[in-house]
Symmetry: C2
Subunit: 360 residues, 2 copies
């Protein structure tokens, strides 16, 4: 099986043992006589899969009993609307920290519901960094503060949560969720599309604090009311069974690796090695400011657009996939999610050194 | 590989060749070097998968150019809200034909948006039949007429569409979509969760007439506005890549079978044989009136609840899965979706005859 070095920004590389397990069980889950694609979501088989996924996630992230874990559909894009519909009163205001395109989209949806205070943004600097604490203009009466923990397009990341006092903190963690330990107690709600570190596209993980649910107004569409999914434990309607199953396998794999502290250290090492090559020699140029750099998405440029095109073509011919920057910004982006092996990083580094030597 | 006879009501049995193909390609799609779970939704690989699925569906159902095909998330349950949010003006009224629990849920969501006229219901008869044409009280000024083509819980089915004149027709076809040919020109919008005949849970197919989109008001949450998904060809945000891929494989399989006329004839034959056993001998009793019977979900009772429990236990021990009626009504339900082989039906018939002989 000839597999490439997969630097996709998401959907992204998954652990090979997880893929092998899915393959081996595809015709029949052990002892069940049906594929996971064919089981009822009301069966004990699926209840066990769902409960195990929730339990593993609770252990890996130390999710306290104060918080519910939900497996939903619609991606972060639907959360952009669900968060304000549930928690932004029509006469209230929410603080949004805007660090890239995904934050902008979240703001756009919130503005359809109520007032938005742009409490911090680096748009004027083309989102090359995360705002500094002193730059934030937080409203102590805000319904919540929303931020995007990692910005795939601009390659920046909040290395610690913004300080928001008693205001509920909401986070779109889609692109760094499960890449590092988190103190879930700091969050009123955190959400993540699974398709980076947690599993395949098609399921969105939401962790929400129970006491915050009391703020939800009545009359929302049933599927958009978080209480529906809390009450029915993600089984109000047919959930994305297969995607939840794969997330469960990924979580099992992460536990076997030793948990998120171990995974986080490996991610830091992968990123450090790659950034070191970018910083040495002057051929490559990182786009994000150093102290805002993402450990997940390493974005960089070459001296000319022509060299970037050549870099993408040659890397592709050499078995590297997914290295093109987002179509809105161009350049090169190497995404280093949990499941990307160090071997792939080392292979990319070798390729980059060779390329710089030939064209520098 | 010991596979059971899978009579699940959905998620449900899939064609074995489809499962084998998924298994064989799980580590790497041919020539791609990545699993389908790892490809970017912006890649040409996925664009090809998505376009092929749409093309096959267009061919199988003769979907005219006037109609768009969308692959969304959230199941029929989210469509219950999206349909009225997009097409029921706040000062308008929509006609709902109520033939079971799913229709009731659709009504509940529509009432949060505007007025609902219950234009036909058999609730007083415990939904044992579909309303007759003369019983319908349709409003010629309604924004649309909504009906549920097949009722999984009560085992009834509309064998032809209700006559609605010029009023736009909307159908929740979740549980008989792709089981028979349809004249799509009759529909302004038809939607179906994939997890019966079309594929796995996690993707919802929507077919909507282009000129109807003009009625959609501005200001909806972006993800709930059908125009978003039309404009972006189901790629506004990350779609459920794997589920779309499996739907594509199922559609390819259905084409290879000879198309929906062939499939429909096979479904009719399976249902006819099973209903014949129910009607013979007086031990089993069908719950739906004969001319309203579903070809998808065959619901029946035994003389006593104790015998039903015994039937479920013994059938389970003999390799039959999914035969319990919905938890809200009890009894027995055998779902005969496209991918259920005639062999499974014949095995069930043998089992039922033996059981009736022993306990009748």
């Amino acid at each position: 099986m000839n597999r490439c070095h997969n630097f996709n920004a998401g959907p992204a590389v998954l652990p090979v043992p997880v893929l092998e397990r899915i393959r081996d069980e595809m015709l029949s889950l052990p002892g069940v006589g049906m594929s996971v694609l064919e089981i009822s979501h009301r069966s004990t088989t699926f209840e066990t899969i769902l409960a195990a996924a929730e339990d593993r996630l609770r252990r890996l992230l130390n999710v306290p009993d104060t918080h519910h874990i939900l497996f939903l559909q619609g991606g972060a894009s639907l959360q952009f609307s669900m968060v304000p519909l549930n928690f932004l009163p029509r006469d209230g205001s929410a603080d949004y920290l805007v660090t890239g395109s995904w934050s902008e989209k979240a703001v756009e949806e919130a503005r359809k519901v109520g007032r938005v205070n742009l409490a911090g943004t680096t748009k004027a600097e083309n989102y090359a960094r995360i705002p500094k604490p002193a730059e934030l203009r937080l409203d102590p009466t805000a319904a919540y503060v929303h931020f995007t923990s990692n910005n795939t397009i601009f390659g920046t990341q909040w290395h610690t949560e913004p300080e928001v006092g008693d205001v509920p903190l909401v986070c779109d963690a889609s692109s760094d969720f499960l890449s590092r330990p988190l103190d879930i107690r700091k969050y009123a709600l955190i959400y993540a599309g699974a398709q980076k570190n947690a599993g395949p596209a098609g399921v969105t993980i939401v962790i929400v604090r129970d006491d915050w649910l009391r703020r939800i107004p009545d009359g929302l569409p049933t599927m958009l009311d978080y209480r529906t999914h809390v009450k029915h434990r993600s089984l109000y309607n047919t959930p994305p069974v297969f995607a939840v199953y794969v997330v469960g396998l990924v979580l099992e794999y992460l536990e076997a690796q030793g948990g998120l502290a171990v995974v986080s250290a490996a991610n830091a090492e992968k990123a450090a090695r790659l950034y070191a090559v970018i910083d040495a020699g002057g051929f490559y140029r990182g786009t994000a400011e150093r102290d805002s750099r993402s450990l997940m998405n390493v974005c960089f440029r070459l001296p000319t657009p022509e060299l970037e095109q050549m870099f993408l073509q040659e890397s592709s011919a050499n078995g590297f996939a997914g290295l093109a920057g987002h179509r809105s910004v161009g350049g090169i982006r190497a995404s280093l999610y949990n499941a990307l092996p160090m071997d792939s990083v080392m292979a990319l580094i070798d390729f980059m050194r060779d390329f710089a030597r030939c064209h520098g």
